[in-house]
């Protein structure tokens, strides 16, 4: 029972240790890394199968009962997030076999990947706000090193912006945690939710909620403090960027959803409009930024920002359907976005460049790659029957039902612009004839091993995207179940605190 909750943390930690100790034997380290990613996938699968029926798993680490110790909690949303995190890690590790240089592997690439995954899983599973801070820092520390590993100039300047903005966010988070502790005397999320019911809904709780909103908003790259993301995500190697693009900002979104549905849920008149404004502005600024770019990586980076807006939109609308939409969107988006960055990595390998001006003619050279780009790209823009269509459909419908016409209009307009920007990449990189000085002409053809390592994970993620699209009903029922749990915080509170939280 409690092993299921701890395994998603222990497996990456054990893998990180094994890969550190094997740092002088790159082959063995790579094998250990892959085994660890597969192990995490299995562990997360067990966790999901144990929570899919609506059970909320809880373990009190160190046998210290809540609210004194640190509780680890998994409901449907958390378990599903751990599963996609494991999927992305596995894809990235497989991609890295041919997509990462030996120098980076020597300087701790694999241990860092797994420590990062441990931080991500910890953030999903913890039931304690201060512990969430610690997992955030675990995640940030390893991402800091991963983003600057290699030490190219663009990487370093990008990393500096990334580090500074994320540390500001951490300081705000810490201040929020301090104020919350000062007002309710606990940082266990379930316990704090109960204690906050005794306080007036406005006033200090709203201030603390705003601090968390800003802190997590920075981490999620929401408007207005998103500019660290497009300044840094295009600089590291593509497998690293894919892992970041898939997971890191979504941890911020997850934390926002968790905190606003569980702890600060009593003043929606204040938080909902705020979240909706942020959501709309995030969508618009992100997509406008993307349209101005000609580097594939930068286009994709700006689209991360824009897509975060959709996830926040569901949270802002706040009905069951809207939250189901957010859950659906997050799960689908992680797969699609990580995949697009991996495709960009293959594009660079085959086409010799990331720049749309210099690329061209890739459709003829690698039709498989073109198809592998088209699936996530169209899904991102929301073309049926792919996964993105259903995610947007849920959000738009919930917005209309709840009478938020303006945000729905923004969402639809932004998805048209997203389609434009995806077709731009398609037309420039794949469709148009190769330019006169084709940087791809000199790249050697993919070897068999490279094909397996680079295209294998890309195609696997494509298959997941198509499967979500075709079997949308299954995922929708799951997301709906997760949203039901999110909207009934008493379930969570009772699971963590036992009978004590039952009243009220």
């Amino acid at each position: 029972m409690n092993l299921l909750l701890v395994l998603p943390l222990l497996v990456p930690l054990a893998t990180a240790i094994a890969t550190i100790l094997l740092s002088r034997a790159p082959r063995a380290a790579r094998a250990a890394s892959f085994a660890g990613a597969a192990g995490l996938l299995a562990a997360s699968g067990f966790l999901l199968s144990a929570t899919i029926d609506g059970t909320i798993l809880v373990t009190q680490s160190g046998s210290w009962p809540a609210p004194f110790g640190i509780s680890l909690v998994a409901d449907r949303f958390a378990a599903a997030m751990v599963v996609v995190a494991a999927v992305i890690l596995a894809a990235v590790v497989a991609f890295s076999a041919a997509g990462i240089d030996a120098a980076r592997e020597r300087f701790g690439y694999h241990p860092l990947l797994h420590v990062l995954s441990m931080g991500v899983c910890g953030a999903f599973l913890t039931g304690d706000l201060f512990n969430l801070y610690v997992w955030f820092e675990v995640m940030l520390m390893s991402s800091f090193v991963l983003v600057s590993l290699g030490g190219e100039r663009a990487q370093l300047t990008g990393a500096l912006k990334y580090v500074v903005l994320n540390l500001v966010s951490s300081a705000l988070f810490l201040a929020g945690a301090g104020l919350l502790y000062g007002s309710v005397g606990t940082l266990n999320m379930a316990d704090a939710a109960v204690a906050l019911r005794a306080l007036p809904a406005q006033g200090l709780p709203s201030v603390v909620a705003t601090l968390f909103l800003v802190a997590f908003g920075i981490k999620a790259a929401a408007f207005p403090l998103f500019f660290w993301l497009p300044a840094s995500y295009h600089t590291p190697p593509m497998p690293v960027a894919a892992l970041f693009a898939g997971l890191l900002t979504k941890v911020g979104v997850y934390a926002l959803v968790r905190v606003l549905t569980l702890v600060f849920n009593r003043d929606p008149g204040f938080t909902s409009p705020l979240v909706l404004w942020i959501a709309g502005l995030t969508m618009v600024t992100g997509v406008l930024g993307a349209m101005a770019q000609t580097d594939v990586r930068k286009v994709l980076s700006f689209h991360i920002v824009s897509q975060i807006g959709y996830m926040l939109m569901g949270l802002g609308v706040g009905t069951r359907l809207a939250l189901a939409g957010t859950v659906f969107y997050v799960l689908h988006h992680i797969v699609v976005k990580a995949n697009l960055f991996l495709v960009a990595g293959v594009t660079r390998r085959v086409g010799g460049s990331f720049s749309l001006d210099r690329l061209g003619g890739l459709l003829g050279r690698s039709p498989l790659l073109a198809a592998a780009f088209l699936v996530p790209a169209l899904s991102l823009a929301g073309i049926p029957p792919l996964s993105g269509f259903w995610a947007k459909y849920l959000l738009v419908r919930s917005g209309l039902e709840a009478g938020h016409g303006a945000i729905v209009a923004v969402a639809l307009a932004v998805s048209l612009l997203t389609l434009f920007s995806m077709t731009k990449i398609w037309a420039e990189a794949f469709w148009k004839p190769a330019p006169a000085h084709d940087p791809g002409a000199s790249t050697p053809p993919l070897s068999v091993a490279e094909r397996a390592s680079l295209l294998g994970p890309v195609l696997a993620l494509c298959a997941i995207t198509v499967a979500i699209g075709l079997g949308a009903g299954v995922l929708f029922r799951f997301a709906d179940g997760a949203a039901t749990q999110l909207l009934d915080p008493d379930l969570y509170i009772r699971a963590v605190l036992g009978t004590r939280g039952g009243g009220s």
Binding site: N2, L3, V6, L10, L13, A14, A16, I17, I20, L21, S23, T59, Q60, S61, G62, S63, G108
Partner: protein, 138 residues
């Protein structure tokens, strides 16, 4: 920065600091101290050597490369948490033995955890300091 005074002092201080760091480590159960502080003091001892005699002299006296120290330390900490899982109790539950040992005191999983922290801290701090200093050395 070659200073005769510092160099000869370092030779005397190095074993003293190491001994003190171990004392801090084991004192940490019930009194101020613990693996983190102990590890910092031990790392100070090595960095003092590196400052006076160069990075090579510090590396020679290290039992293993800093990366390996980090790995080993984490392994010890992880192991200390696993013991309680094997007993069927939640992860990281502190388990204590009954008979006290000399120097260490009562053995238990928190001691193992603290020792892991100690080794990890030594590894991390030295990895940073020695790498930085190596860049500056001609």
């Amino acid at each position: 920065m070659r200073s005769v005074i510092l160099a000869s002092a370092a030779r005397v201080l190095f074993p003293l600091l190491l001994l003190f760091s171990v004392f801090l480590l084991f004192r940490g159960h019930n009194e101020p101290g613990g693996g983190f502080v102990g590890g910092l003091v031990a790392a100070t001892a090595y960095s003092l050597l590196a400052l006076t005699g160069g990075v090579e002299s510090a590396r020679r006296l290290l039992p293993a490369r800093p990366e390996i120290l980090i790995g080993t330390g984490l392994l010890a900490a992880l192991g200390s948490g696993l013991v309680s899982l094997a007993e069927g109790r939640p992860f990281m539950t502190g388990l204590w033995g009954e008979t006290p040992l000399p120097v260490i005191g009562k053995p238990g999983t928190p001691v193992l955890f603290d020792t892991g922290v100690y080794v990890t801290v030594v590894g991390v701090v030295l990895l940073i300091l020695l790498t930085l200093q190596e860049e500056d050395e001609p």
